[in-house]
Symmetry: C2
Subunit: 323 residues, 2 copies
Amino acid sequence: MSQKLLGIDLGGTTIKFGILTQDGQIQEKWAINTNILEDGRHIVPDIVASLKHRLSLYGMTKSDFIGIGMGSPGAVDRSEKTVTGAFNLNWAAKQEVGSVIESELGIPFAIDNDANVAALGERWVGAGANNPDVVFVTLGTGVGGGVIADGNLIHGAAGAGGEIGHIIVEPENGFDCTCGNKGCLETVASATGVVRLARHMAEGYEGDSAVKAAIDNGDDVSSKAIFEAAADGDYFADSVVEKVAFYLGLAAANIANILNPDSIVIGGGVSAAGEFLRSRVETYFLKFAFPQVKKTTAIKIAELGNDAGIIGAASLANQFAAG
Amino acid sequence: MSQKLLGIDLGGTTIKFGILTQDGQIQEKWAINTNILEDGRHIVPDIVASLKHRLSLYGMTKSDFIGIGMGSPGAVDRSEKTVTGAFNLNWAAKQEVGSVIESELGIPFAIDNDANVAALGERWVGAGANNPDVVFVTLGTGVGGGVIADGNLIHGAAGAGGEIGHIIVEPENGFDCTCGNKGCLETVASATGVVRLARHMAEGYEGDSAVKAAIDNGDDVSSKAIFEAAADGDYFADSVVEKVAFYLGLAAANIANILNPDSIVIGGGVSAAGEFLRSRVETYFLKFAFPQVKKTTAIKIAELGNDAGIIGAASLANQFAAG
């Protein structure tokens, strides 16, 4: 049997695991809950125990694996294989991860930031079609991303490469961002950003709209509801989606004017709107991209869903392959 | 004697040559005029003749060289080593370059776009300090650039990587750009762009200003004159420089939010304004960059001047070094 890759997608509520072939096909996958109690001290031991249990269950040993890769939230030290802080795991101080897993399992281990890892997954076997130049943008609670250029994941000078959510799209009158700046893409294109934009636009809208009525009524309104109302012909909701697409198309065009990737892949919860969102983002992208870039950089919707994390994590382990 | 690198910087008026050590020091340099007559058919033969003459003069043979690198204007086919069109060389059709030089000189040859090659030069021995992550922005007649990420010059899917001049900085009411879009950085930060911006701002300015008077008088005004007047306390000229710095700082921050390079290096004629420009660009950069990026990406002025081209071209030849 040829050797396999192990991918781990560490999240604030669940830890997902996958055993993959060297060409990125998932053979087994499972998940456990993330126990963040007591400063998250159970997380790494839980991962070790789950791996040992499953390997025993499948009759596999360390020699069956090329390596283990993991995607983690927070700040990751790739060379030390540690996480130096992750708010949603209750990890305030530096956390040993790689050293523990390598000594307990005897399998080489690699780690990177979760958004970067998802980018690697989508690039490898998802919408990126294994092209050497792919940018991934994930629209979730926040807006994250990862940049793969000339085959390499770009970390930059201090690991802040791929902070797509903090591209400034409203330099003059933008909303406050959690990062301390104003006008970041995240303030208008994350799930909460779409709702923030809708609330702001509702103040100046006079027409008939169920979404505007719900906002004015103080009801909870989700980005999903806004996209659904827009698709159903709510004019106000449609104007919100149009503005979100304008911001995403502008950011995508500027990314592409700098890097000319083969594709910019949009993932995360907000991307569930699919072609309805993609085609509108593309319209603005085509307005703002350099002529040669328009012809050669495609706007795509992610294909791997929740599996992007374990697939991309597994791809990190490919660095340990012989030769 | 250890082997040398040969760098050629092909321009519309002169062709510059340099013989460099493997660590990027220029040992000899010379230049010839570019003869663009008769569809530029003399250019490649002139390069060959000049190389043969100088090598003979210096008593050097092909075995003294690792390779030859060249930066060319226009559209370059790196794998074919051809230029597929360069307006300012009168090269309308595909031009054989590498095949001719390799067969005439017997030395391996590599070619890339001139802006990319200048970026390689500044990154190697200039302001980039040989860091693996450096972005170069050149402010001249147009605005060009080159992106080096994780040690690689980024060409992207179709060679349009590094089109820094076409980052959109005014999505709503920007000036028309030669590329067909509106609001590109080039329309406000190239030498002609600075003047265009000044003319536009002059329409709404009521105060006393020699620069505004010259514009209103129909006199020729240069970007250099605007920067000089600003440095001498002309309030109107100062407001123009401030706006140019805003646009450059915004573009630089968005580049850095995507790539977190070690430095963004500003070169070209407009960068002769030096620290006066750099410090203002940095102010806006610090306003728009993600917190971690602010701390780790520096804004610098280019150091190599006209030598960036031959030095970067020579660096292309390093790919032929043994081992």
